[in-house]
Amino acid sequence: MGMLQGSLLSAVTFVPLLGAFLLILIPRQSLRQIRLFAFAVTLLDFLLSLKLYFGFDPTRPGFQFCESRTWIPQLNTSYDLGIDGISLFLVLLTTFLMVLSVLASFSAITERVREYFFMMLLLETGMIGVFVSLDLLLFYLFWEGMLIPMYFLIGIWGGPRRIYASIKFFIYTLVGSVLMLVGIIYLYQLYAAQEGHGTFSILRLYALDISSTEQIWLFWAFFLAFAIKVPLFPFHTWLPDAHVEAPTAGSVLLAGILLKMGTYGMLRFNLPLFPHATHEYAGFIMIMALVGIIYGSLMAMIQKDIKKLVAYSSVAHLGFVVLGIFALNQEAVEGAIYQMLNHGVSTGALFIIVGVIYERAHTREIAALGGLWKVMPVYSAFFLIVALSSIGLPGTNGFVGEFLILMGTFKSRAVFAVIASTGVILSAVYMLWALQRMLYGVAPEKHSKHPDLNPRETLTLVPLIICIFLMGIYSPMFTRCMHASTRQLLYGATVSRPVQVEQRGIETGPHTTAAVGDRE
């Protein structure tokens, strides 16, 4: 037990990988065993990750559950893992959504089942690895390596245009990542120039003095990679394609986890590493986020395909997250983290709901459906709750996140908050309108005899519904773990932290703290 305690994060990260290779040993034809085994692995991993939550000390701002092993000593890079209040919930979200995604795939995937769950488990390791790495090189390995299983998930089990969508997703994200790689190596050299030996350790790099010009270049090298992943307008074009073609579980993970990697990256790298550039461009990025919110909502409004509607709503929701991050104050950043979780839960649930109806009706066209409330009452009730949470109705999780973000944004740039709040209204418009068309009215003949949710599907959705209310009503359960980490993050991101433009290597006095919103 003691050993497990010492490498709990490694266990959480690599249990799925181990499971994936054990999965290959099950004969191809035993579909039932394959599905149950995959489910068991993800469930075990979720339970393991719960230990992280209960063992987490919310008063400590730094990283916890740290592990360090030598990896490539010549490069001073090591296998460093750890989580703080920001990554803790993202890890939990990953393991949680994985369990549900596997459940949701039981009936949706009927061909090449073993390969499918193999890829899913590989993906889980990759996703968790991204959130727990404290070494930039290790982070990058997970960050890019994770593209491979996702690529195959979309490309093999996706819809009719899957090949186009998957390659677009792969190359689009790769272009962003490779520039970040240049940035990573550049940081390494910079550290070597100052300290005599390079490092990829994130914690050490936080202490690096970077001149303002270099900060700007590096900031954009990292930001581009993350912005493509988020995706921030105008880099979002891969998203609707990928979502529409991906299988249900692929969409759930894409929206629920993969997009969060972008915003997580901004929090973990852009803010603390390049505080000067962050403040320089925060306004500009917030404008991009606002455009994303409005544009995503308007695009969602005119979609005929419900899955595409959800995809565009993601663009809008992630716009809120980015807005919150770059408002650079505690409320907004916590709101952003909260909203990342919300979006994972609500949009994940929405994609599962869309998947359920697609399995029955074989269409996702809003106009083709109608009157579902009479046909599938339980399903419709779930749909309604999830949609309201996505809109941000008080009492649901969405409200907490959006409220915090808007409040924080109002403090730093009031006009932006006003504009952003129209996004909330627009989200009500497209969601409720879609609900109205799909759930009410008269069911077309073709779609009037679909069975309601079966126990497995109910089991998939109920945990998400519980989460929606839990996070909406008792938010301190989550935010209490975030305070210390966000405070430290924002301290690291203050511009008054000594940044030496020309004279490197000269000792400066103790770091001075300053109120974050000072610039305004």
């Binding site: 490539i72 000593p73 090189l137 190359i171 490779v178 520039l179 240049v182 550049y186």
Partner: protein, 490 residues
Amino acid sequence: MNAISPPLVSLAALGPEMTLLLTGVAVMLLAAMAPAFSRRYAPYISLAGILVALYALLRLTGTVGTAYDSMLTLDSYGFFFRFVFLLVAAAAVLLSISFLTAQKILHGEFFALLLFSVVGMMSIVTSKELLVIFIGIEILSVGLYAMAGFQRENVYSVEAAVKYFLLGAFSTSFFLFGIAMVYGATGTTFLPAVADSIARGTMHHPQYIGPGLALLLVGFLFKISAFPFHMWTPDVYQGAPTPVTAFMAVGPKMAGFAALARVLLTAFPSLEVEWRHMAVVISACTMLIGNFAALRQNNIKRMLAYSSIAHVGYVLMAFVAGSPGGVAAMMFYLVAYAAMNFAAFGAVIALVREDEELVDIDRYGGLGFKNPVIGAVLALSLLSLAGIPPTAGFFGKFFVFKAALQAGHTYLVVFAVLNSALSLYYYIRPVIFAYMKPETAEIKPAPAFFSLTLVLAAGTFFIIWFGIYPTWLYERVTLTLDSLYRLAAL
């Protein structure tokens, strides 16, 4: 001049080469005298010879010095490459067995030629004497010319041989001319002496040294198929029998790079600024041309030929750095490249049938599910060639990029990473067909060849090992640098 003077003739120093040479001669004689026996056992005799050579080489571990009146130099840099070359030779023999059997052209001579070529490669890296390097290149090339045309019935194979021979002969004569110029300038062809002469300003005709270096570079750039001397590559790679292509894409390139690094660092450190600038331009052009031309290929051998050109561009970035880190990156890259290239070609060879080779990418439909092992190896090696972690290809690129960035060439690195992202587009195409397109009837389960499976397994193993834990190889590589730089300074 020699700090260490071992006996004039040291058989042990040449042990591995001698072994290969004798094995080659034996295989050739057998082929003439007992053709049936040779057809059956030649590959295994060759493998045994390679194993003995490996043993002979390992006995030389740690031996440093010169032999044969400074014609040979034993150092850990050369040792590293000789070791890798023997593994490359073994992989080439193993790959050839199934291919030649399927095509019914398994003759003993093939293996003799292969062994001779490897002797050439090994001589290239065991010397600091330009003439020996030249002779090594010739030995290597002559074997390759004949191997390229080994499918006598196949018109493309013959074309490949003729093309390669004519252009290769040209390039080696340029190389020879370069040696003459260097000799004219400095009065010596011994690399440290050349460096000495340049550094002290005691050259007889300083005006010849620049052109001399340029002509030497022509020879090298041809061998490694770098811009602008890459034109022969696609046709020759496409026409040559596939195992020969696999060998050609790895062996001679490695030898060329190894010797290029040695020549530039040992003899021309004083012209470093010039050759580093040249490397920037050549590297950028080579990767760009390789990648763009590869985008449109449907023949996988041709695609891999252009891809190999692109990879030469990446490796050349190591010379841009000109630092020990750069040479280490080059060596790491070459080994990683060997592993992934053999794996990729192994997968292509696995699809060879009696009547024809399956080299058109658009006929790979459903390969991944009909033939899971071959499909997986192909996909893995292609992703590694594209540089996606966690594969050997990623760390190869990583080290090279790091070295170039350290030297301050940020623009070149940005250019290279964008190139590398672009390359994914053509590397992924066979994967798309193998896994995402409907099955075609042409894919049949491959006949099981243990030899081929061995190469595929080894390739996969190295790709993943170096992709997750590059430490071991990188350590080996950096240990050899010392010898390269210390003796260079001698």
